[in-house]
Symmetry: C2
Subunit: 446 residues, 2 copies
């Protein structure tokens, strides 16, 4: 049922698309719409080129708040937004749901299931994946935290475990079901462990009749000698203290030897029976890097030139977690959102300068990383933060964490929704997303 106005719009859109191809405008292809890819599109702002964004998901995910979806605080749509909706006003940007599988650098093509896209410039920002340190079999016994589906599955598993414990007649089963193990003491692991402890001790506490959720055992395992290894020793100790106060069983200097169905064995010979093992131990470079056919660093990341381009391929840029880059002091640039965003802006400027016919050709500037600092939240009024030599913890760090995460969250609706949920949770000690979806009920008696 086309109406006149709509037909005209369609025709315009078609003409734009066709015009694009006729005029042979530079084609910029962006792989991944995480912090790097999305920031690239937003800061590119150049009408002389067409941008096509390929992503496997229809949404940009605000990773720093994903753990709150896993711990039943936020809904999935609170921390995600459709990529095409964010970029709707940039008419030269096309968003396509594509699963990129490889590259033909010589022909300047990106390959996906069933086809390919040609590019003049390629910006690779596929992010990272969960690393199991050479034990891929552990994946099926643990819950990762990279995608919304991961978070929803983790949430369903933890909530279901408490339901099963309430149903169970066996003390051993109850104990196993009410033990939550978080592997990895980086910011994500610390945030998860704190949030699970609060979930059990405050949120679920009065809702059960046959179990006492406050008796849940939340264990945080870190192989190195301290939590939050990238932070100062002082803040690591603060974080461990705050977590212990929340009831988390913090175990540092203990590696994981084996993970199986419902248990975990550690390097100190101890074994924990747990139905809920959450894996926050590490990230690996996206395996897509292997398809580039270049030598990667130990972590599987792509060594790039000072301008972030692939050596020998000035038209290919790698940004975000996948790029192996060092700052001015020679330290590796961390896989954090601010780093990916800074790289995106750097590359956007280079390409913009090069495709603008009026712009004089300049030598490409080298990328400089500006370390804005780091922060991690531990729980209600508990957080640690450091920026440069300045470090702080407790309520002030927590407020700073809240404000910064709200500011960086994309979209007014999401900001308002998250602010509302946080305010609600703060005053009621409740969480708004304690919903189990897609979880099969065990057919075994518990």
């Amino acid at each position: 049922m086309p109406r006149t106005g709509e037909s005209q719009n369609l025709s315009l859109a078609l003409l734009q698309t066709m015009g694009v191809k006729k005029k042979n405008r530079p084609q910029v292809l962006v792989v991944g719409a995480g912090f790097g890819g999305l920031t690239f599109c937003q800061s590119f702002a150049c009408r002389e080129a067409d941008v096509t964004v390929l992503d496997r998901q229809n949404h940009h995910l605000f990773q720093p708040l994903l753990y709150q979806v896993a711990t039943a605080g936020l809904s999935a749509p609170d921390v995600a937004q459709p990529i095409r909706s964010i970029l709707r006003r940039q008419k030269n940007v096309t968003v396509l749901l594509r699963n990129v599988t490889g590259f033909d650098l010589a022909r300047r093509e990106v390959l996906f299931d069933g086809g390919s896209h040609r590019y003049d410039y390629l910006v690779l920002a596929p992010g990272s994946v969960t690393s199991y340190f050479g034990h891929p079999a552990w994946e099926k016994h643990t819950h990762g935290l990279k995608t919304l589906d991961d978070a929803l599955r983790t949430r369903a598993q933890i909530l279901l475990a408490f339901e099963q414990a309430e149903n169970s007649a066996s003390d051993d089963d109850k104990k196993r079901l009410m033990t939550i193990v978080v592997v990895g003491g980086g910011p994500t692991g610390v945030e998860l462990a704190g949030a699970f402890a609060e979930l059990a001790r405050h949120v679920l506490r009065r809702d059960f009749r046959r179990i006492d959720p406050a008796q849940a055992h939340v264990v945080l395992i870190e192989a190195s000698s301290r939590l939050l290894g990238q932070f100062s020793k002082h803040l690591s100790a603060k974080a461990a203290k705050q977590l212990t106060k929340l009831g988390v069983d913090v175990r540092t200097g203990v590696g994981v030897e084996k993970v199986g169905d419902g248990f975990l064995e550690m390097s100190d010979g101890k074994r924990i029976e747990s139905a809920n093992i959450v894996w926050a131990a590490g990230v690996a470079a996206n395996p897509l890097a292997k398809e580039l056919g270049v030598k990667l660093d130990k972590g599987g990341r792509v060594p790039v030139g000072p301008d972030l381009s692939l050596p020998g391929h000035p038209e290919v840029f790698v940004i975000g977690d996948l790029a192996c880059v060092h700052d001015e002091k020679g330290h590796p640039v961390p896989g954090l959102a601010p780093a990916a965003m800074q790289m995106a802006r750097h590359v956007a400027k280079i390409i913009r300068d090069e495709v603008r016919p009026t712009a004089p050709q300049k030598n490409r500037a080298p990328f400089k990383y500006w370390d804005k600092g780091m922060m991690a939240t531990i729980g209600r009024s508990k957080a640690v933060a450091q920026t440069g030599k300045f470090e702080f913890s407790g309520w002030l760090a927590w407020m700073a964490w809240l404000v910064i995460h709200l500011l960086y969250l994309v979209g007014f609706r999401n900001k308002a929704a998250v602010l509302f949920q946080w305010t609600y949770s703060y005053f009621t000690y409740k969480r708004g997303a304690r919903i189990i979806t897609s979880a099969p009920i065990s057919s075994k008696p518990n």
Copy 2:
């Protein structure tokens, strides 16, 4: 790490549970925590008996707003709340996640996977299931709308179809992907069709580059001669007119002959190619009714006595959609939330009067249905409503619909969250939950 206060709480809880069994208090078993089951628990308010609620889900679902989850307006947690959280303050109520499979009426037991529960009173409120009118094979080609998972799958499918259309080079594929068929012209079908039309024509409209979502074809099929058969003819016509204005292709008097993978054949010989067939054509009584071993009515519902008890079993009550009950004029009581809630209150009062040792035994009062009317929303500022002989449509009906649904939605958080989403959508023409989760990307080229 039990602390003193917590250990005491646990002991108290254990003592309560044990005390319950020792004293041989009357055990009331409720199957299902929909409108009927939940209202029963809330209005029972009787400390002389213990109540155990069994449900297959951990949440009470506010069904009337489920279509807004399917059409990307609301998040799953906005329309659902954990049952045990709603009932947390009623200390004699225990909530268990159980998949009930049958009954032993003689031994007064409810059977579930792997066990049984004994009862003194049984309140059966399992609700209804989607009916495919004797064609169970159609289920796999269509999307139902009874559970949160149904709604999330429908949402993912529709959003994915538009993504695939944007990826597609074939006009036929585009057309098939951008055709949404809603089968069934009752309130749910009308609400879905209106919401899908608005989604395509307003929300998605400017977000794509290669397709024009406003060209999407939304078809509403109803086998009988008019939409909203339970409403007056005048309101049926109004609804059809309002839907047509939204761009919905309304086809009444047309039955479904065949449904297959990506197509639907109708009784008028026409065939529609569509990747998105949503089934809102009817509900059937929960098949659990068959396990009672009594004669059911044509719709599979349980004929009950005037007091809503099972004939021959005064200790077993059937309420909500599963009960075959008639009002004073001999009309069947409709399967609506208000009816289920009225039945729940009626049964709660009967059981309360009987278990209170001080209360004089009375004859059980017959159930009387109070018809408060019906309403259905069609879209922005469009709705129809009738109560008694009074009927209205348009903006007034729409506002009434909004207010009543907000008031009946369980929980302050959900009320506030939904009010926020509605206000946001009203002013921005956006929807907050356009997130595809758990959707596989087709490996075929489109």
